[in-house]
């Protein structure tokens, strides 16, 4: 335990404070699976999870768009859905995931990035594919752009079949960060049409030229095969539920934040910002405790009441 960690440990926070702003990613950090909090009325994933379970059972592809404004937790929700999908498939941690940061309007380039990303993941996990498929993947850039969708479709299907036929069956999923235009999703549907896999897209719910209009996603650009998850800012009660839930998963001590104060300060704010502020407030308080005469590990020293929160927040919330 380092000197810096000590205050956290004394307050039972062995992994420092539980309010991290980085997206939850069980694929990279299995412990993140435990950090997921079901917040009533936030993502409302019941229907989507039902669809994913059905798709997993019927070995069909599933397509989900996670839509929201900046910092509303789109990537975390997308990763959570991927994790649940693999659970439904019964493959657990035996899966291959690639994240593609879509950076331009050329569908071919991000589709290619997805295929190459999957191949890299397969190789990193030392999974054995048939040599013919490996050769095809190695020469995937040679596939003419004019016919790439159907050729990629065959490759994706072969990949899914071969991963499923391994001694320890595997499945794959793709996360496309950002949808510039609805045609992206239509193209992905063609490519992964015959592959039992989960394809998730995140979408900026803004009205500008660098993102697909939300209406266009809702309309008949693609049929009911695509599920859309809408993420919004948190309500006051959701903020409290989130802060309390995370705290309880990290510490056995009492929840230190005053609910009214949190409600007052953070309602109608996006989840990532709320997490960041909670973390900063806790750090600030721990520092205050450390510098003050309050004896630790008495948890009363951490208590943050309404008045304290309102007075302290402007000190840490600066541009």
């Amino acid at each position: 335990v380092t000197h810096e960690d000590l205050p956290y440990w004394l307050y039972d926070l062995t992994d420092r404070h539980p309010y991290r702003t980085r997206p939850l990613d069980p694929y990279k950090r299995p412990e993140d699976r435990n950090r997921w909090i079901d917040i009533d009325g936030f993502a409302m994933l019941g229907r989507v999870l039902g669809r994913l379970q059905a798709a997993a059972e019927e070995e069909e592809p599933a397509f989900v768009v996670v839509e929201g404004r900046d910092n509303t937790g789109r990537t975390s929700v997308a990763n959570y859905l991927l994790d649940k999908y693999f659970e439904f498939r019964g493959v657990g941690d035996r899966h291959v995931i690639t994240h593609v940061a879509v950076g331009d309007y050329l569908e071919y380039s991000w589709a290619l990035a997805a295929m190459v990303g999957l191949q890299n993941e397969v190789e990193d996990k030392r999974l054995e594919l048939e040599s013919k498929l490996t050769d095809t993947l190695n020469r995937i850039e040679e596939i003419p752009e004019a016919a790439y969708k159907l050729r990629f479709q065959r490759i994706a299907r072969a990949l899914s079949v071969q991963l499923a036929n391994l001694d320890e069956p595997h499945a794959f999923g793709v996360l496309f960060e950002k949808v510039f235009k609805p045609e992206f999703i239509a193209a992905a549907q063609i490519i992964f049409q015959k592959s039992p896999a989960l394809i998730v897209f995140t979408h900026d719910a803004y009205d500008h030229a660098l993102t697909a209009a939300s209406q266009s996603l809702d309309q008949a650009q693609f049929d009911e095969d695509v599920e859309i998850v809408h993420l919004r800012c948190l309500t006051g009660s959701q903020v409290c539920a989130l802060a309390d839930g995370r705290w309880k998963k990290a510490s056995s001590l009492d929840f230190p934040f005053d609910a009214n104060g949190l409600n007052e300060l953070f309602r109608d704010k996006p989840i990532k910002k709320v997490m960041g502020w909670l973390g900063e407030l806790l750090n600030y308080k721990l520092k205050e405790v450390r510098d003050d005469t309050v004896p630790w590990p008495d948890n009363k020293g951490l208590k943050m009441d309404d008045l304290w929160l309102t007075a302290t927040f402007p000190l840490i919330y600066k541009p």
Binding site: T21, R69, D70, N71, G103, D104, Y105, L106, S109, F180, K181, D204, A205, Y206, D207, H208, A209, L210, T211, K272, K273, G276, Y317, K318, P319
Partner: protein, 1040 residues
């Protein structure tokens, strides 16, 4: 004669520019002053002074909050009057560091070559490097991010963020990472702004954003500057293709201006020789380009940028009136010189070389010679200086021979100009050099550049050039030394590279012995280009080139340094001379300026006032035409509907009756003709359906669907005739039906013919026919309407029906009818002077009149044309007070502008203005408020005071404004002036807006108000105050 002269010294070198034309390469739009024009001896000619004022006004105003703080100017004049020189001088004058007060960071100068607007766009945008454009985009994003931060953290935080971003624009990404602002929200704000600027073209926002992505930076830049981009790159950027549409170019320029203005940097766009855009190759007006320029003239100042168009007199004359109106007061005329000005100008140039100061003495030119020069040059400054160079050059050659009394006379001038070489032009020399190189079979590159080494022409040989040619154009005589120094650096660089390259310097027109001898020591060849002889010199060099294996050596480094020092001294001494020349020219041309411009600010105001009055008259005329055009369009539509209605009735009733008659005559129906019968009745049914159903009828009146029933009926008619033919063949079978048959056929013919005749108005009375014709003026409309009403004796019910008629001419009859006036007159006669004696028994006609007034009030609310709304409002002036008050309240609440006409004339108790109305400065609210107030009972003069006090909350007394007005805008009374200065300029501008005859919603736009002349006077008075404020800036004493 020589005894009278003050000068006795001939200039030791020719002081005039051999090539008195200013050229400017289009350069990167950077912040530094341009060395190639910074040394130009420029004086404050009247036109430069005025343009300078426009520049100054722009730099003072463009940072103000909001829009429309830009400027636009059109500098026009005949060729050679110094337009290009003026604008380049001023562009250079305002060059400076970013955000430094009084300087312009982004200066774009482009000279049109033809009427290709896309080329103009490319050459303007091409002056920005990738880095500069990226920086602009990033700073634009930074400004929006700071504003976004300001909404969360407050103004102070926004300012602090903005300052940090100004130091390092890339910090905007840190703001995103730290979640201070949401990138999506910033892009959304950007999209909202761009929507206005680029007409919703998403391509621009995409490329601006991808410009910040290193992977797509180059492609985005290429697209934004109008170059071709590969299809794949276009797909990656999400754009439809390269910018090829001139409209997109316009949007691109607007975007450039808007971005600069948003980051609080001044931007000046100059399009020189814009006549090449305005006229096409056949010298016809190129309307698409005129439209584009007109759009820019509107959009650039709106986005707080400045646009300067430079063009010929012809160009200025042919552009449409509204184009010129948009230029407004900034049309700047570049004029020719007077004889006195010419004498002083030449004297100033000569003094700079001789060191003798003698105003008004152009020695060695005689006064006659100057007049001859002036005649030969037509007063054109450029040509005058060019000819002076030629004449003096020739005189020096002949000095030993025949210049009597050492004085250049008119004869000498005529002799020289008669055989003059016409000046040495750079393009002429370039053509000669290129022709020669081609004739010699030498491949060349132009312009040529390797690293820092630049030349105008290079004949390559492998990786090294065999021959480099550099052209030195001495625009003004101090250029000569500068050009020489610059050429010396070329020689130095060639030597440093160790190339065996022959370097030839071509000096255009003139090179003084001092400089020439130095250059000859340094370069291989120096050719003073003055025509064919110089070309032959160059030919000799070129001919030697292929066989030349050993190059003449360039002077060694020490020698070059020595020559450099010597030329530096020459340059410095000439700099001093130039400073003296500039000073003298400035003094001279200030005097010119004083004599040619109206004296003082008041003189300018007189001119400006006249321009405003002209513009008001123009705009009113246009408005009247537009309003009448609206009425006439609606009338034409109604008339067409009426005719169609008659024709359809003729088709669906007349023709079927006719056919039924024939069918009856043809009975019994034989198997062959049963089809015809079915079709005939089907046609009848279709016709009836179309006639009876309002929806189909509405469609039918105005659409080609009328062909459907007509076609059906004609088909039926054809079949019917066929049957009739059968009937004629066997007449004995139809003997019992001729009477019914004849009756139906006759009835069908009568109805059909009657409807057709009614449709073309043959059956209408003469006044109605006149009323149905189009009119060319409002007065004519009033006259035919009154004739119609007189002739038709419409009753009240018909008048009410007329108010709802589709034809605006008839609606107008319902509004301005003589009958309604008579109706009121009768009522007045019977029931008291005001006609509204409600306490007594109701008058016999009051019920009917009330009904008519209510119909009129209803029509006022729903009337689509401005003229009729206005007339309805006026007609309501004599309606019962309670109705008038209700109509006024409704009109204000529903924002029906023409309610002001009723407010002006209504004799009603104070109107209680609608509550919650936030349009405190709307014309109706202002006028109603004023009429209710104590001031309203006074005179129209008090309206201005009311507006300032109540609508704009300026705290001042009525007496002050009266005194101010009496004192000619306070210009003559310092005490009034100092009080006036305390009133914010913004308030004056608000008052001008409320009274404006130009801006939508201004009181002055209600052209038919009876107090319109008073309103115009008030508007001009406020404009005068603003004018003086602008004129005096910080002057506490008022305008002189």
């Amino acid at each position: 004669m020589s005894g009278d002269r003050l000068r006795h010294t001939w200039p030791e070198r020719n002081p005039f520019p051999a090539q008195a034309t200013t050229s400017q390469a289009e350069q990167p739009a950077d912040t530094s002053p341009d060395e190639s024009v910074s040394h130009l001896p420029t004086a404050e000619l009247p036109v430069i002074k005025r343009l300078h004022e426009v520049f100054a006004a722009y730099l003072k105003e463009f940072t103000r909050e909001g829009m429309n703080h830009g400027q636009v100017a059109f500098l026009h004049g005949d060729h050679g009057t110094g337009k290009t020189h003026s604008v380049l001088y001023l562009l250079n004058h305002v060059a400076g560091e970013p955000s430094k007060t009084g300087t312009v960071t982004y200066r774009f100068y482009v000279k049109a070559q033809d009427n290709d607007f896309l080329d103009i766009y490319r050459r303007i945008m091409g002056q920005l490097s990738v880095t500069a454009l990226r920086n602009l985009s990033l700073r634009f994003l930074g400004t929006l991010s700071a504003e976004q931060a300001g909404r969360t953290f407050g103004e102070e935080a926004a300012t602090s963020v903005l300052e940090r971003l100004r130091e390092n624009p890339d910090r905007v990404f840190a703001l995103y990472d730290r979640m201070v602002v949401d990138p999506g929200a910033v892009l959304e704000a950007q999209a909202s702004e761009l929507d206005r600027v680029v007409g919703g073209r998403e391509d621009f926002q995409r490329t601006l954003t991808f410009l910040l992505d290193p992977a797509l930076e180059t492609a985005a830049y290429e697209w934004l500057v109008g170059r071709n981009v590969a299809t794949r790159d276009a797909s990656r950027l999400g754009v439809s293709g390269p910018i090829g549409d001139p409209q997109l170019c316009r949007y691109g320029l607007q975007l450039l201006v808007a971005m600069c203005a948003r980051i609080r940097e001044a931007i000046i766009l100059v399009i020189d020789q814009c006549e090449r855009l305005i006229f096409d190759e056949n010298d016809d007006l190129c309307m698409p380009n005129v439209g584009l320029l007109a759009s820019l003239v509107e959009a650039v100042p709106r986005e707080n940028g400045m646009l300067v168009l430079v063009g010929s007199e012809d160009a200025w004359r042919v552009v449409p009136r509204d184009f010129r109106q948009r230029i407004g007061l900034n049309d700047l005329l570049s004029t020719i010189l007077t004889p006195d000005q010419a004498i002083e100008l030449l004297g100033a140039y000569i003094s700079a070389v001789t060191g003798e100061t003698a105003a008004g003495d152009p020695y060695p030119f005689s006064t006659g010679a100057v007049h001859a020069l002036l005649t030969a040059s037509s007063g054109n400054i450029r040509r005058l200086l060019q000819l002076s160079w030629e004449v003096l050059d020739q005189a020096v050659r002949n000095l030993d021979q025949a210049v009597p009394d050492d004085l250049i006379t008119a004869d000498d001038v005529e002799l020289t100009t008669g055989q003059g070489r016409g000046g040495i032009r750079r393009d002429e020399a370039e053509r000669a050099i290129e022709r020669l190189l081609l004739e010699e079979g030498l491949t060349f590159e132009r312009p040529w550049r390797r690293g820092a080494v630049k030349a105008d022409y290079a004949v390559p040989s492998g990786t090294e050039p065999r021959l480099l040619i550099r052209i030195m154009d001495a625009v003004f005589y101090d250029d000569e030394a500068r050009g020489a120094l610059s050429s010396l650096s070329l020689l130095q660089q060639v030597r440093n590279e160790g190339w065996p390259t022959r370097v030839v310097l071509v000096v255009l027109g003139y090179c003084s012995p001092a400089v020439l001898s130095r250059l000859k020591q340094a370069a291989h060849d120096v050719i003073v280009y003055d025509g064919a002889a110089a070309t032959e010199q160059l030919r000799t060099i070129a001919e030697q080139l292929p066989s030349q294996t050993e190059q003449a050596s360039i002077a060694d480094r020490d020698r070059l340094d020595e020559i450099y020092q010597a030329l530096q001294l020459v340059a410095e001494s000439r700099d001093q001379e130039v400073r003296g020349l500039r000073s003298e020219l400035n003094s001279l041309l200030s005097r010119i300026s004083e004599t040619s411009a109206p004296a003082g600010g008041r003189g300018n105001w007189v001119q400006r006032r006249q321009q405003l009055l002209d513009r008001i008259a123009d705009v009113r005329e246009l408005r009247r035409r537009d309003q009448l055009a609206d009425v006439e369009t609606a009338h034409a539509d109604a008339e067409r509907d009426r005719r169609n209605r008659y024709f359809v009735v003729a088709a669906v009733i007349g023709i079927p009756l006719f056919l039924v008659g024939i069918l009856i005559g043809s009975w019994p129906i034989q198997s062959l003709s049963s089809v015809g019968a079915v079709l005939g009745f089907a046609g009848l049914a279709v016709g009836l359906v179309f006639t009876c159903l309002p929806f189909t009828r509405r469609t039918l009146w105005s659409r080609s669907l009328i062909l459907l029933p007509l076609g059906a009926c004609i088909t039926a008619a054809g079949v019917g005739f066929f049957i009739f033919y059968l009937g004629i063949t066997y007449p004995y079978t139809y003997t019992d039906r001729p009477a019914v048959q004849a009756l139906l056929i006759a009835l069908g013919l009568i109805i059909g013919t009657g409807c057709v005749l009614a449709g073309i108005s043959v059956l209408r009375p003469q006044p109605a026919r006149k009323l149905s014709r189009p009119v060319d003026s409002f007065e004519r409309l009033t006259q035919v309407t009154r004739s119609y009403v007189e002739a038709t004796s419409l009753g009240t019910y018909q008048l009410e029906a007329a108010l709802k008629h589709a034809d605006p001419h008839l609606r107008y009859a319902g509004i301005v009818t003589v009958k309604s006036s008579e109706l009121r007159d009768r009522t007045r006669r019977d029931h008291g002077s005001d006609g509204y004696d409600r306490e007594s028994d109701p008058p016999p006609l009051s019920g009917r009149r009330d009904s008519y007034d209510r119909a009129l009030a209803r029509q006022f609310r729903v009337e689509p044309t401005v003229i009729l709304r206005r007339e309805a409002a006026r007609a309501l002036g004599t309606a019962p007070p309670d109705l008038v008050e209700a109509v006024i309240q409704d009109g204000i609440r529903e924002n029906i502008a023409e309610i002001v006409y009723l407010i002006e004339i209504a004799k009603v108790p104070p109107v209680s203005l609608p509550t919650g109305n936030d349009q405190s400065t709307s014309p109706a609210t202002v006028l109603a408020g004023w009429r209710q107030s104590a001031e309203g009972a006074d005179s129209a003069d008090n309206l201005l005071w009311y507006i300032l006090k109540h609508a704009i909350n300026v705290d001042s007394e009525k007496e002050f404004w009266t005194a101010l007005k009496d004192s000619y805008g306070g210009a003559q009374d310092p005490s009034l002036w100092s009080r006036l200065r305390r009133i914010p300029e913004r308030s004056l501008r608000q008052a001008a807006t409320i009274l404006s005859p130009f801006e939508k919603g201004g009181l002055g736009t209600f052209d038919e108000l009876s107090m319109i002349s008073e309103i115009d006077n008030m508007y001009l008075f406020v404009e005068q105050l603003i004018f003086y404020r602008e004129l005096s800036y910080g002057d506490e004493q008022g305008p002189s």
